[in-house]
């Protein structure tokens, strides 16, 4: 921050802005000050729109202690002049801190893969990316879980293969179940809930009566005991839990298909093909995701670009990005119509945006700048500055299209 500007320079700048002579501006300022003074004298407050409000506040008589002598004294009632800046001024002054929002410790989305990470955005746009990250987080969060044995097959697939085998042979498949990886769900975060019941099933096994565990320990190195009732029971519990979860998943997926696309895919859904859930989920995703990284939403009543950016992108200041993608639909960035469809970008779940995404945000700010420039708004240059703060190289590309003074402002700010 620079030093204080002198009154002389200030008057010069105002006269330059208003195309008036310096003498006129000086007289105007004097007149304004006297009006403010008389306004405070008569009314108690003077408001200047977009800037702030001067107020005269009466401080009551009170007792105080003289700091020098330590004697008690009476401070008479008197007026205090206060200035309360209005929101535009406060926001303008705070521009350099705009990117900082209050942070709640332990609630950052990167640290803990909470269920709402996947639940909040069911329309997995660039799904692969996020899935792998969630997978990494999941495996990192539970290092004690064994590595997948059948790496290629999904949990549901593995379950069905084993279930069929068991039904055919009529005997338990304990060894398979023991070696079966619980976190196969890492392949699909939507299935990650299967992890939980599976583990509870395992823990239920641990909490069995001591005589059973003793029996197990006695068996020692002898590996498979098909007649062992404890093993049988544990396998059965797992099978049942897994079956219930899978059926639930299948039902949900089928329901989605009914709701989203009224297709002929219904009859196929009943057959117990183990790979069924994956294509269904993908189909559902593709219903609302136009192409990779974009999503179409219907605008409701009272929604704003600012709010959409906060909800979908996690940062309100990315709203020009949405405006940029919908520049054919939206004429005025301050007004969006309820009932229209808007394209919303789905950024990857990273700490920061990628270069291409930043470029789009900056392009959005330049679009907003151009719009404001058409409206002859004086503050349009700030949007140019914002574009530069997101992607400085873009300012070099648009030198021909923007105002020189605005460009200088954007670069030197």
């Amino acid at each position: 921050m620079n030093e204080k500007i002198s009154y002389r320079d200030l008057v010069g700048q105002i006269s330059g802005r208003t195309d008036k002579s310096r003498q006129f501006t000086l007289e105007f300022m004097r007149g304004l000050v006297s009006v403010i003074e008389s306004g405070l004298e008569t009314g108690g407050s003077v408001s200047i729109s977009g800037f702030g409000k001067f107020e005269r506040r009466w401080m009551k008589q009170r007792k105080g202690i003289h700091p020098g002598t330590g004697q008690e004294m009476i401070i008479p009632g008197q007026n205090k002049i206060v200035f309360k800046p209005y929101k535009p001024l406060r926001e303008h002054v705070n521009r350099s801190f705009l990117h900082m929002a209050p942070e709640i410790p332990g609630k950052t989305r990167q640290v803990s893969p909470s269920p709402d990470l996947t639940a909040s955005l069911p329309e997995t746009g660039p799904g692969q990316h996020r899935n792998t990250e969630t997978a990494a987080d999941l495996s990192g969060a539970s290092p004690d879980i064994e590595k997948p044995a059948h790496s290629g097959a999904s949990f549901v697939e593995a379950f069905f293969i084993e279930y069929d085998e068991e039904a055919a042979k009529g005997e338990t498949t304990d060894e398979l179940l023991i070696e079966r990886p619980s976190p196969v769900a890492v392949e699909k975060p939507d299935l990650s809930i299967t992890d939980e019941p599976f583990r509870t099933g395992r823990s239920a096994g641990v909490e069995t009566p001591p005589d059973l565990t003793a029996k197990k320990n006695d068996s020692g190195t002898e590996k498979s005991l098909p007649a062992d009732s404890y093993e049988k029971r544990r396998g059965f519990i797992r099978l049942r839990t897994a079956a219930a979860v899978t059926v639930l998943l299948l039902l949900t997926a089928i329901l989605f298909v009914f709701v989203v696309r009224e297709d002929s895919a219904v009859t196929d859904g009943i057959s117990s093909n183990s790979t069924r859930p994956d294509p269904l989920i993908e189909e559902f995703s593709s219903g609302s995701v136009e192409e990779s990284g974009l999503m179409i939403i219907l605008i409701g009543n009272g929604q704003t670009l600012w709010e959409l950016a906060q909800n979908y992108l996690g940062d309100s200041y990315l709203w020009p990005w949405i405006f940029y993608l919908n520049r054919d639909t939206i004429n005025n960035p301050n007004v969006i119509t309820a009932g229209t469809n808007l394209v919303i970008p789905v950024p990857a779940y990273d700490e920061s945006l990628s270069d291409d995404e930043l470029k789009e945000v900056a392009a959005g700010y330049i679009t907003v700048y151009n719009w404001y420039k058409e409206q002859d708004a004086v503050n349009a240059r700030h949007f140019l500055w914002a574009a530069g703060s997101f992607y400085p190289e873009l300012l070099d590309d648009v030198t021909q299209q923007v105002d020189d003074t605005d460009l200088r402002f954007a670069r030197n700010r």
Binding site: R30, G39, F54, P85, F97
Partner: protein, 97 residues
């Protein structure tokens, strides 16, 4: 005194049209805001000094989240009235007393 009253008084005293005085006040306010955004402040004779102060970030207990949250630093506009103005209005009793 509302903004409209201010404009009316100003246009009466300086013999300007209301549109013109409105434009001038608006441009002046924009210039003030821009200056406060770039520089640390300015003084207007007989009115007072505007300053921008940086308030350090701190931790505060949030009753909603039941935990301490980080409040980022921010800037605040501070105004200290000119002594002429202060003395002139110092012992003016409020209307309702």
């Amino acid at each position: 005194m509302t903004h409209t009253e201010l404009i009316n008084r100003l246009s009466d005293e300086l013999d300007l049209t209301k549109t013109e005085s409105h434009r001038l006040v608006k441009e002046m306010a924009i210039e003030f805001a821009a200056e406060l955004g770039i520089n640390s402040g300015f003084t207007i004779p007989r009115l007072g000094t505007f300053k921008v102060a940086t308030k350090a970030g701190r931790k505060m207990y949030s009753p909603h989240y039941k935990t301490y949250i980080d409040i980022p630093p921010k800037k605040a506009v501070e105004f200290s009235p000119a002594s002429v103005l202060k003395e002139h209005l110092k012992f003016l009793r409020p209307e309702n007393e």
